[in-house]
Subunit: 116 residues, 2 copies
């Protein structure tokens, strides 16, 4: 099985656990944007938005570059491959434990137990 770097997954999923940050990713998917543009769009102070962008940078989802006084944010090269792989492997576990037959059998077992 693939070895996932725990710290990385921690940071990734934490970064994705906030609606604003998911929104920022979506926005950057359309085009690059400055901190100011992002702050405006999400009705937030520059400082607040900068923090979110920092979290996304730390997770490797976003890279930024400051040119003059403007810091431009863009999607990073990292993508969501690792997270997708992790989730996919667990979807299989779920599927294995929760296919129709399993459910029926488990339900029957429970009923038997109760009837005893």
């Amino acid at each position: 099985m693939v070895q996932y770097t725990t710290a990385r997954l921690d940071a990734s999923f934490a970064a994705l656990s906030d609606a604003t940050r998911r929104g920022v990713l979506e926005r950057l998917g359309r085009s690059d944007a400055s901190i100011t543009e992002l702050a405006d769009k999400f009705h937030m102070t520059l400082t607040g938005m900068r923090k979110h962008v920092g979290v996304l940078e730390h997770a490797g989802f976003v890279t930024t570059e400051k040119v003059g006084r403007v810091r431009t944010c863009k999607l990073g090269p990292r993508g969501l491959e690792e997270e997708a792989a992790w989730i996919e492997s667990y979807r299989q576990i779920w599927a294995a434990r929760f296919n129709a037959l399993d459910r029926v059998v488990e339900e029957l077992k429970r009923k038997e137990k109760i009837d005893e």
Copy 2:
């Protein structure tokens, strides 16, 4: 496009952002387990483990049932479909913005700008 319930995704990704909780999901993928078993396996107090299980329950990944003095934890019916769908849609955004041609073009643009 699918409408994701933000609160749900928030809770899901937050639940997945901790290595212990991901470990618990993996463990429950093999078989159901009591709080005590989980606490032992992850070298943690009952109370600590109970909190983790609570977070996983809240996210809908785990269900529990108390019989006698033992609370048994099992994978919930929810699975990771929604999270997988979200991640997949963003993988596509990434792919679109980061295929080989895009990269080359963007790199060229940057070089031109610098050369000006």
